[in-house]
């Protein structure tokens, strides 16, 4: 069994009885054992659980019961999702001292109910505060396309595990770009749904007023299948929408038909981002997106998201910052400490601006259904790289990799990160952005790009 197989191909084979879930799980565990030492994507491998979940799927099928839409599909989750019996690390050494989680996160429980088989937990930036997964405690995750480069972050392990062919489906979280940045760098598909669409219960929050969870995959159909399996209300997450699921998979085949598509201009096209702009142009041409739209005050939106993130993110860790700041990853420590000192007036003005910006964006969506924008300013930087040249200036890599993602997530827009096919070159992604609750539209446009051959996520050689 090859690591290039899609989740839906695996599920079809298991459902039809052509292959047992136990064999699929064993093959996935063998691949992880062989490949993970090069990538450092996994921080825990749940082999015993995988074998028992797979055996349960095989038994279900043998009894003539429906084993689920994701029957036997091996998957793994960012290590901030609770896995019953395992300590939830959230990339932090401090959390390693905590007792094991007593129950699965809602997302994990729902994938299990759909027949998927959990094979492990994945590396990330400490407390999800970063775009590179250069974790001081658990080591950097390496990009499967070039192991000298970062996988992106903060869901770096989630992206690397899919891009490297270790598994076909993973989960991550996105506050300011933590699904979309690693998707871009690793050349895979990632979905950050609308804020409130998927339950975050049982996942460690970073900035609760901006946090989202979402799937990674190598095909749009897999991405939609994973997303659909996790939908539905959940009283354990106060912001999770109380409405029935709206499955996206059934509508994919309609492609981009009937969608009004435009490209984001201005802020999203600074100097020094030629590769990102070329990828965007390829996607725009394939979708016939001739017009451009201006995202009003995008730079200020990014600034407001940055300020809210710093203050709200730090408030969650204030007790540990007071007691044991030295135990934080140096990459997050000083940002958390500074965030804890942010004046309230700045934070509330940023929250008021957030409401204003949301209103302006809803006006933009009166005339368009989909906005295309680059996902990252550059392809994956080297591990340890400090600066990049963007907008005519040498700027710090770490805080700025999210410059194109950060303005959009803090108003909760659903976005698919789409890898533009560039054989022989490092991957880079495009954001396919829709109006709130229109994930299905963004996935349809992504599917159209995949069908046209403009987007592809081959397993890294």
């Amino acid at each position: 069994m090859s690591g290039a197989e899609t989740a839906l191909a695996i599920a079809a084979a298991v459902r039809a009885g052509r292959r047992s879930a136990s064999d699929v799980a064993a093959a996935a565990l063998a691949r992880i054992e062989a490949l993970n030492p090069h990538l450092n994507a996994f921080t825990a491998v749940t082999a015993a659980r995988a074998q028992s979940e797979a055996a349960a799927i095989d038994a279900k099928r043998a009894r003539g019961e429906d084993p689920g839409p994701l029957a036997g599909v091996p998957y793994a989750v960012k290590n901030l999702f609770d896995i019953a019996g395992l300590t939830t690390l959230a990339g932090a050494r401090i959390e390693a001292e905590k007792p094991p989680a007593r129950a699965d996160a809602t997302a994990v429980a729902r994938l299990k109910a759909a027949g998927a088989v959990l094979v492990g937990a994945l590396n990330m930036d400490e407390y999800a505060y970063g775009f590179t997964t250069e974790n001081a405690h658990y080591g950097p995750t390496r990009n499967p396309h070039d192991t000298a480069r970062v996988a992106g972050g903060s869901s770096g392990g989630s992206a690397a595990a899919v891009a490297g062919g270790l598994v076909a489906l993973t989960l991550g979280t996105d506050t300011n770009g933590s699904i979309r940045v690693p998707s871009s760098f690793c050349g895979i598909f990632g979905l950050k749904p609308t804020y409130g669409r998927l339950s975050r219960a049982g996942s460690t929050m970073f900035v609760a007023s901006i946090d989202h969870i979402g799937p990674f995959a190598r095909s749009v159909e897999d991405l939609a299948a994973g997303y659909d399996a996790m939908q539905g209300p959940d009283p354990r997450d106060p912001v999770c929408r109380d409405a029935p699921p709206e499955p996206a998979a059934p509508g994919l085949s309609r492609g981009a038909q009937g969608l009004r598509i435009a490209t984001a201009a201005g802020y999203f096209a600074p100097a020094g981002t030629a590769e990102a702009q070329a990828a965007l142009a390829q996607a725009a041409a394939a979708l016939g997106a001739a017009r451009t739209v201006e995202i009003p005050e995008a730079a200020r939106a990014r600034a407001a998201a940055f300020v809210i993130t710093a203050a709200e993110g730090a408030s969650r860790h204030l007790a540990d910052l007071k007691r044991r700041a030295g135990d934080f990853d140096p990459a997050t420590r000083d940002r958390f400490l500074a965030g804890a000192l942010t004046p309230a007036a700045w934070v509330f003005q940023a929250q008021r601006f957030r409401r204003w910006f949301h209103g302006r964006m809803m006006e933009v969506f009166r005339d368009v259904d989909i906005i295309l924008a680059p996902a990252t300013p550059i392809p994956a930087p080297l591990i340890g790289q400090a600066t990049m040249n963007v907008g005519g200036a040498e700027i710090a890599v770490r805080p700025n990799l999210g410059m194109f993602t950060q303005p959009l997530s803090f108003i909760g827009l659903p976005i698919v990160a789409v890898p533009v096919h560039r054989p022989g070159r490092l991957p880079i992604g495009v954001q396919v952005i829709a109006a709130p609750w229109r994930e299905a539209d963004a996935l349809r446009a992504a599917f159209a790009l995949e069908q046209a051959g403009v987007a592809a996520a081959p397993v890294a050689a």
Binding site: R302, D334, L337, R352, F353
Partner: protein, 61 residues
């Protein structure tokens, strides 16, 4: 930081106000990040918002 505000003095006062002791070896990094936040906050603070624009602490699209 805003003109006329000494980041070192601000750090000392604000950290004391919330009972946060900042180790000497962490100070330079914290100052750098405070200044980064301040520069971005300035672009938000300088934007004229309508008075009736309410904040969105829990945001529901």
């Amino acid at each position: 930081m805003p003109a006329g505000i000494d980041p070192e003095a601000y750090l000392d006062a604000a950290a004391a106000a919330i009972g946060l002791a900042i180790a000497p070896e962490h100070r330079p990094g914290v100052i750098l990040n405070l200044e980064r936040i301040a520069a971005l906050a300035d672009t938000v603070m300088s934007f004229p918002l309508p008075e009736d624009e309410e904040p969105a602490p829990v945001f529901r699209p």
